[in-house]
Amino acid sequence: MMDSLRKYLKILRISLVERLAYRADFFLTTFFRFLPLITTFLLWEAVYDGADKTEIAGFTRDKMIAYLLLVQISRMFSSMPGLSTGIARDIRDGNLKKYLLQPIDMLWYLLSYRGAHKIAYIATTALPYALLFFLFRHVFDLPSNGWTWLAYFASLLLSFIIGFFFEACIGVVGFWFLEVTSLMYIINIINFFVSGQMFPLDLLEQYPYVTRTLDLLPFQYMAYFPAMVFLEKKTDTDLIVGLLIELGWATGLIVLCRWMYRLGLRHYSAYGG
């Protein structure tokens, strides 16, 4: 058990060194990543000015900006660029063999690798994000009690697990379809909307069936839910039920992914490579 853990920690360390080799790329991408955020803030400023209201769907102007910033933190944990296409490519090219010939499990290996990616990303972007949050500090009311902080960190950690195994499931579909890029694009576009990255899902409250369905799907736990926990808009029963659903999805996706992977290996013919 300890040997196994040491092995994956070593992978984490090596991946971290590799990731930090691209610091300039990280900083440039981070700067560019602020552009959509800034334009979205300004768009919402213009919406509030045009609406002549102080609240839209329960969000004041400040709370809306706070929400959009917090969604960035959620996505920092849950987004997994290139994971599914990478898995599908390894399956298609036959490179999956390298995992099968070594005493290493592909999914745990990739989880360690992604963990390193996230640590490196958070470390290299901490400064610009800290600056951004500092500039917008007036829009935040920090959670008033320790339990909210705990729930927030738990929701972020679970969003990482959901994000990883959700994408990994799509990648593992590559055992049967070989090419999953188009499927990934379709899911990403839908996810962009239904996970609450564009706006808080409360704006859809006039369609209660839609919001209730979205509560039960995994998408909103990758962006909307952690942000709402921080803003203390999910409290008491809502918070506990939300966390339980998130935990359910995290566990369910781990089980599903491992089952699909094991099933896929039976199909695998190790072409190429």
């Binding site: 300039a24 300004l42 400023e45 919406v47 000015d49 379709i186 704006l203």
Partner: protein, 267 residues
């Protein structure tokens, strides 16, 4: 010049044959673009359920703007995106040698050799949205504005191409080869909304001015869209046309500088 037109037509035909060899993939890609347009429109309508105006743009004017943005994005992706995306890879692998050895302008060959036909319907969809918004807005037929729109839309495309070429060239020094697509998507966020949203905010106003007159990416869609559904001051239209020429010239210089840095290391 005619030689290049003929060559481009041949490349376009060759690209189309390539796409049609994988019809299923072609259709899925079109479906993805349709879905993206659907999400954009849904976002637009959800926002306009809360307000009647966004920075002085009403729902029909804003819809026209979105159509213009979508058509422009589609045009750039059809003609240049995939080509530019592969540039850093060509440098890394040394395959750029084969391009440099051909008796054709390198910029043309690098940036125009492949036409991504699966993005071409976006141009039509964008024009469809613009047409619907124009009809729903109740504006009458305006021949002068239509001609001005066509000219300014073309100049916007030149401007966007210039910026893409600059970003492509910069990728040789700054980025990993897979970053360009994401960089372009992030950068073009600036042309996704009316530039008036930058006005009235003491921090954003200078940024709005900067991205309109120093790095004029915002003018790519703002000027053509405004000329149809609002008014454009003649000096701004003139500035957009001049900026397109300057950016095209500068991007060519920078691209050639990037080529000079090429050492054919891997070939």
């Amino acid at each position: 010049m005619l030689r290049y037109v003929n060559l481009w037509l041949s490349l376009a035909k060759f690209s189309l044959l390539g796409e049609l060899a994988f019809r299923g993939n072609f259709l899925v890609k079109i479906f993805v673009e349709l879905l993206w347009l659907g999400i954009l429109l849904l976002f637009n309508f959800t926002i306009f359920e809360q307000t009647t105006k966004i920075a002085d743009w009403n729902i029909h004017e804003f819809l026209f703007f979105i159509g213009c943005y979508f058509a422009m994005g589609g045009l750039i992706e059809t003609l240049f995106m995939e080509n530019c995306n592969q540039f850093a890879d060509l440098v890394r692998t040394g395959d750029l040698d084969f391009f440099l050895l051909k008796p054709i302008d390198e910029q043309f060959l690098v940036s125009c050799r492949h036409i991504d036909w699966s993005c071409a319907p976006n141009v039509l969809l964008g024009f469809g949205v613009m047409g619907y918004a124009y009809w729903a807005g109740g504006w009458g037929f305006a021949p002068f504005a239509t001609i001005a729109f066509c000219v300014l839309f073309a100049s916007g495309a030149v401007l966007a191409y210039g910026f893409m070429l600059l970003l492509t060239s910069a990728s040789v020094w700054l980025m990993r080869n897979q970053s360009l697509f994401e960089m372009w998507w992030l950068f073009t966020t600036l042309m996704r909304y009316p530039r008036e949203i930058f006005d009235g905010n003491k921090w954003a106003s200078p940024a709005g001015w900067f991205f309109s007159f120093v790095v004029p990416i915002m003018l790519v869609t703002n000027v053509p869209a405004r000329v149809m559904v609002k008014t454009v001051e003649p000096w701004l239209a003139g500035f957009a046309l001049t900026a397109a020429l300057i950016v095209a010239w500068v991007s060519r210089r920078v691209f050639r500088m990037a080529l000079q840095r090429y050492r054919s290391a891997s070939s």
